[in-house]
Amino acid sequence: MNEYWDRELETITPGGLERLQLERFNETIQRARRSKFYKKRLPDRLKSLEHVKDIPLTTKQDLRTGFPDGFLTVGLEDVIRLHSSSGTTGRATVIYHTRRDIDNWTELVARSMYMTGVRRGDVFQNMMGYGLFTGGLGLHYGSERLGALTIPASSGNSKRQIRLMRDFGTTVIHITPSYALHLYSIFEEEGLNPRQDLNLRIAFLGAEPYSNEIRKKIEELYGLDAFNSYGLSEMNGPGVAFECTEKDGMHLWEDSYFLEVIDPETGECLEDGHEGEMVLTTLMREGMPIIRYRTGDIASVYTETCACGRTHRRISRIKGRSDDMLIIKGVNIYPMQIEKVLMDMPEVGHNYLIELERVDYLDTIKVKVEVRQEIFHGKATELEGLKREVAENLKNEILITPRVVLVEPNSLPKSEGKAIRVVDKRTTGAD
């Protein structure tokens, strides 16, 4: 199916792309220099893209330090939306969008969805959380732009999801892979077979890492084509890179993002084909341009061209992180966030271990807390109270309710230097 949403841009020649990128990079520099953060960090203009590597990198920490408006290049009256990371511990980041930013982002998402085969006439059920999370609103806008009938179902409430799919003949879904697997068990309970009882043909699986086996399993269970995608809120959200119908690597939209891959240790730029940390620059964003952003995501760039005819380079699945960020139920969490909450509770202190598990395809966080002599008074009610308090405090910080398990004193690994207090027992997502 060689049809394009924007043939000219999607099949642009390498030379044409380079000229476009240089022009947009220089426009981005001009805009970015109006922000407090980039004012003195950038050259006047680049003579060629060769010189991009001389610009200093921007990190997540820079975004935190610049919170809330250090990166803003326009007045707040020109901003029509913001997306912010969770976090009550002052580690928040925020991304501001002007009207044109939302418009460009929407265009990229529509282009991506169209590339997988979504058309006017499709019924798109968006089962991702709306709100500050970019995945929900991002695809919602893209789907409307494309002209599909959009159902803003949001996440959860499995029976209602199934009802909606049946009542309105949903053909396209946006869902986390773990929820897709979980939902299948609900179909079974209801005595339904998604292959026969639904009209699904396309699924966008996102927000958490998953293997190719899981993709195939979901395709088989539901009788549809599942597509992988890549996005991060710092780069708008979904629509940075998407698979085409070849399902072999994700086309990164290079008219809107400048892609580099670096050695995370040395910061040196790597050739295509080599695995490293992706560094991205927004080429279109007005309100809050970000230049040479360290994504923390490890991937490689394909060297071959794609049979679909699109010239934008493809990236591999994300192989891991260059930092310790965890993705749990689609939420980005740093172990530090969990640690801070627990350390702030004198009853808990250093005596805990966090285990990530996948139970019935769903991510769970288990927090093991040692019941030391000092906090033990022989009362079960007191211990149950502690469990509740730990669970509530963590929920406030990371938005996920953990399972708290009390264990005997000295049963957890002792902290020697930098203790490993997070154990990820989930099977790895990357291929």
């Binding site: 002599q373 008074h377 022989g378 079960a380 398990v405 009390l406 005997e408």
Partner: protein
Amino acid sequence: MASQVTVFVENRPGRISKIARILGDNGLNIRAITISDRGEYGLVNIITNDPDRAYKVLSKEGLSVSRQNVIAIIIEDHPGALSDVTEYLNRSSINVANAYGFILQSREKAVLILEVDDFEKAQQVIRGGGYHTLTKRELHNL
């Protein structure tokens, strides 16, 4: 007054035998033992002939232990004796958090152990009812 030690244990094999071994090795006699099961963990309540030493040796082995005053009432070992006591407590509005018992001499005397919210008040009520409660010394000499 009598006291019990309570040990925090994870719900996995070998925890009771560990406690029994520690007490046995230290020459301590177990009068009664009960477990309140809380799912992944449990609380083991133990009456021994020497609660102070039981507390010390179990703590020394790295277990989380607490000590608590309990009421140990001597009752007759015959049908209906337990209901007499509990009905009396009920009338006196004593709330019992946990209760268990053991027999001293078959068909003669038994001991009822009560964990109560308000120890002082319960103590008075029990004595006022003409019941005999075991002292630390009596418990030791059983």
